[in-house]
Amino acid sequence: MEDLRLNRAAPSDADATAPPFDEMVTGAGQIRSHWQALMGALRTLAPGAMAERMERARRQYDENGVTYNVFAESRQPQRPWQFDLIPLPVPAEEWRDIEAGLVQRANLLERVIADVYGPQSLIRERLMPPALVQANPAFLRACHGIKPANGAPHLHFYAADIARGRDGRWRVCADRVNAPSGAGYALENRNVLMRTLPEFFQSANVRRLTPFFELWQTALAQLAPRARENPRIVLLTPGPYSETYFEHVYLARQLGLTLAEGADLTVRNAKLYLKTLGGLQQVDVVLRRLDEDYCDPVELRPESAIGVAGLVDAVRAGNVTIANALGAGVVETPAMMPFLPGLAKHLLGEELLMPSVETWWLGQRAVLEEVAGRLDDYVIRPCFAGDMLEASVVGAQLDAPRRRHLLERLRAAPHRYVAQARMHKSAMPVWTQNGLVPRPLLMRCFLIRHEGGYVPMPGAMTRVAADDNGFDISMQRGGAAKDTWIIQHEHAPIVVRPRASAAREPLRRSAGELQSRLADNLFWLGRYTERLDNAARLMRACLMRAPAGGSSAREIAEFQVLAGMLAARGLIERPIGGLPDGRAMAEALGHACGPEGGLSHLFQALQRIAPTVRDRLSADMWNVVNEQVRDARLRFESQPGDLDRLLEGMDYTIGVCAAFHGMAAENMTHGSGWRFLDLGQRIERASHGVSVVHDVFAASGQGAEPWLRLLLEVSDSAITYRTRYMAAVQPAPVLDLVLCDETNPRAIAYQLRQIETHLCELVRRDVRAYSQPEQRIARAVLAGIELFDVERVGSTFDRAAMAALDALLGDTRARLSDLSEAITRAYFSHVKTAQSIGYEIGPAAEPRP
């Protein structure tokens, strides 16, 4: 197979004597001209100013929630964004060359992908080895033969990691095609730098990034398979557990897309829909951040629970465009690199403008043997997606036995490996407490396809290594990100392309299309925060009565009632019997607040659900429900058994819940998302209220005054009562205040009134009032409370009155539970679990006798 012989991917960078290229300083020790303005600005800063600016930038990243890996299980520390404030300036002429190289490469890769999923003539004509496709798990056979609808490209969004070698040439180290990340981080790096070091920008003529994102928006709209004024575009994310989830949220906002998880989408009759409160809404374009093989359990990975069943069929039918197309990732393998120069000649009739890092594919015997003889010069890497977890091996670091072992492994499956030259990457300054130090860098560039051509982002996400070992640079290994400046000539006009659809956006008062899944999760976020608040209040009341030597009989009795309530809610394991001493109490409560206790379970539930609605919460609300909730949890878990600390923890927790609900009321637009959050909170508070009233009256029998005080305290209504009634505490006024008073935000009637209002607002206007089951239940339960004769109970409080109260509370409790179910049925997608079938039995013909 002559035409497949060794193909040097790049002029070698192997002159081991040359020092790495310095981005800032020439060999003669001169600061390069495009760095001078920047260095000048840096010199004018007062001593100590950089440290202060770094701190300011760190705060901004934190406040904006920029993280690399957000884990919902919050004991896992989130990694703060690592950054450096010295940008990398790139002069216009140099950028022109980089642009040309990357545009050509994107065009080339697009042609290769189209061939792989079409005629496969490149394989037949041996311009690339068949194994690069056939043995590559990123080649999705189910997608072969699918052409993107409406002439859309397979490769809509392309990213390349490039680095500069000792010879001063930029080379591509990695092609990112499957679902490239980083563009959003690049924009955020720019925004933070502009806010923290505005003086840097004054003398430099830096190209802006925002026009690129505006262009991206139009480009996405153009992908729609059917002509539509406002195509619906979603950003498909694997969800909050994804390490780049921050960016998904950020990009969705920046590009005006709906952020959707697989569970938000459904395929019906080969069309893709978003499940919203208002029904199914057809989706035209998907910007995909979910790895391609996870996208459809029917035709791709059957075990994927985060994809959309039937998606491949919808694409095949031409009803939706996915960017990047499913299967595009096949060209991401570094094994492609040696063949790109030949492919460029064949497909484009051009020389490859920007070389790749020197790469050899070991699937050819001659190549394998040559590399085996020069193992010291190379890093051996697995080249296919499924094998990427296997570590790269640096040839020069192997002793003889390891070397033999490696060669055995290579000979067993040579097609699965490449050998790459170690590249001595160029260095640029990084600011440290001890001044500027040089660090090797890697630049990730981004291109989008717009009107038949590729347009690069005039900027990049540059990463620098954590130390001066220039070989491995990644955010996982502690690298830091930097802004990248494309310097333009003074007179170059800033081209801001107008958005294609110049039609004015009509004013909108609501999004109107909240995903059912989000509504569901907001509802439960409301319930959990309220449940936490209620639990903390009960525990606080209990702690304040912690039996001590001088406890009165009444205090001990109250304590018993409260402890019973905690036990009924699963917050402590069992009621504390007899006359408990302080130690038994401290133990029970300490355990309840410890890592395995009931309170801890509430925290966990909250921490699980909060990230799923993160993009619906303001940064402040997110901070409360994320950071402060974690703080609260840590307070309990760090000091088990110390009653004072527990009491402080309860106060803190109650404050956190109050802050969250306050922000919800004041900072969220009162649209359907807020209504579901509030509905959850109201239903929870009403249910809690009903059982508290029940428990207190059941314990007190006659409604004696001390018990009524306890009820007021636990219901947070003591002050209101005092201002209304002065000192006399009697059953009727107390019941009126905690049960029936619609002006008391802690009263049960108040919750029910709010619930009713929400349910009426959520239903379309043209529907008859109270036509929906959940509305009728809400009305009925409120009416039951309204019609209850508090006066009669209060004046006599005999057994009949007690029975009437009992009946009311029992009835209300049952109806509240019906109400929660009715809301679930009416609004929440109630996603049934998907299961893959057809894997149960295989062919089983017996041998013939």
């Binding site: 197979m1 497949l4 496969q120 394989i123 037949r124 080895p129 068949p130 194994a131 056939q134 043995a135 056979r141 189910a142 072969h144 033969g145 459904t266 395929v267 019906r268 009759n269 080969a270 359990p297 029917v298 035709e299 059957p302 069943a309 039937g310 069929d313 095949r316 039918a317 050819q364 015997r365 097609h415 996603v831 049934k832 679990t833 998907a834 299961q835 893959s836 079938i837 057809g838 894997y839 149960e840 039995i841 295989g842 062919p843 089983a844 013909a845 017996e846 041998p847 013939r848 006798p849």
Partner: protein, 296 residues
């Protein structure tokens, strides 16, 4: 020979299924040795979408989805197929296996690109030392390719015991090699992995085999089963089908549905259901020889 094939698949769900999506490969493939006189599927309840097409390997494939709640799904695939035996070359006249191996590896003889696809290990036919060592015994240096393959085909028939309880649909080749037990699918995967371990091309064929009632009994309807065997690439002759379960060279008693790298590429009915709870699956296959008069 003409066969009337009825392949019925029934899913019974514990709870109603609201939505379901399926990919089916239950209609026989058109081949030089196989003519399809009539073929079609009937699905109950009626799907909202049925799309017939051809998959990457050229097999007939149907995509369908159901959108009304159903507790039972029945897929009836029926075909009238005429099968002829393919000519089998003289085994001793086939090229030495090493020559073919080198050709497939990219040196020497030009080979069909598509054969290369079937040389590498695939998800359900992983290659390890056990399967390599087992297969190697059939490949003496310089021996003619087809003779080696026939030997391997016979050894598997002799060395492996049919035992449906020993394996399930996902049992890896390594386990089958260790137990030396399984069903037709396991034997096919073991042979495929072995052939590929030698650097040769083998693919997995899904289909049916004609069965005979024991002496004095009447053929029971629906008692047949899906079958699986192996197709090997022999330059000059093309693909030759071998059935390691029965130590046969496939003639006119096998009906081919289609092929892939392994079972994963060619499972008859696969899908995703929403809802459903637990389910039961029943498959019945009937392969009835038809005389020309019956057919008219």
């Amino acid at each position: 020979m003409i066969y009337d094939v009825v392949h019925r698949t029934t899913y019974r769900y514990e709870e109603p299924v609201d939505l379901s999506y399926h990919v089916m490969r239950v209609l026989p493939r058109v081949l030089p040795t196989q003519r399809i006189l009539r073929a079609g599927t009937i699905v109950t309840p009626a799907p909202v979408r049925v799309q017939d097409g051809t998959d990457y390997f050229g097999n007939a494939v149907t995509h369908m989805s159901l959108e009304e709640p159903h507790a039972e799904l029945v897929v009836d695939a029926r075909a009238l197929v005429e099968v002829r035996a393919a000519p089998v070359p003289d085994a001793d006249a086939t090229p030495a296996w090493e020559t073919v191996r080198d050709a497939l590896d990219g040196g020497g003889l030009p080979v069909e690109t598509q054969a290369v696809e079937f040389v590498r290990a695939s998800p359900m036919a992983a290659i390890d030392d056990a399967v390599r060592d087992y297969a190697a015994a059939s490949f003496r240096p310089g021996a003619p390719l087809l003779a080696c393959l026939l030997d391997l085909n016979k050894r598997i028939r002799n060395d492996f015991t049919f035992d449906p309880r020993a394996t399930n649909v996902a049992t890896p080749v390594a386990d089958v090699m260790q137990m030396r037990r399984g069903v037709c699918q396991d034997f096919a995967h073991a042979m495929i992995a072995g052939v590929r371990a030698m650097g040769l091309a083998a693919r997995y064929v899904s289909g049916y085999i004609r069965t005979y009632a024991p002496q004095g009994q009447i053929r029971r309807q629906g008692a047949d089963a899906s079958h699986a065997w192996v197709s090997v690439f022999v330059p000059g002759a093309g693909w030759i089908d071998l059935d390691p379960t029965n130590d046969l060279v496939v003639g006119e008693e096998h009906v081919v549905l289609g092929w892939g790298r392994d079972y994963g590429d060619i499972a008859p009915i696969r899908g995703v259901i929403l809802g459903g709870g637990a389910h039961r699956l029943d498959v019945s296959v009937d392969l009835k020889p038809v005389s020309d008069e019956d057919q008219a």
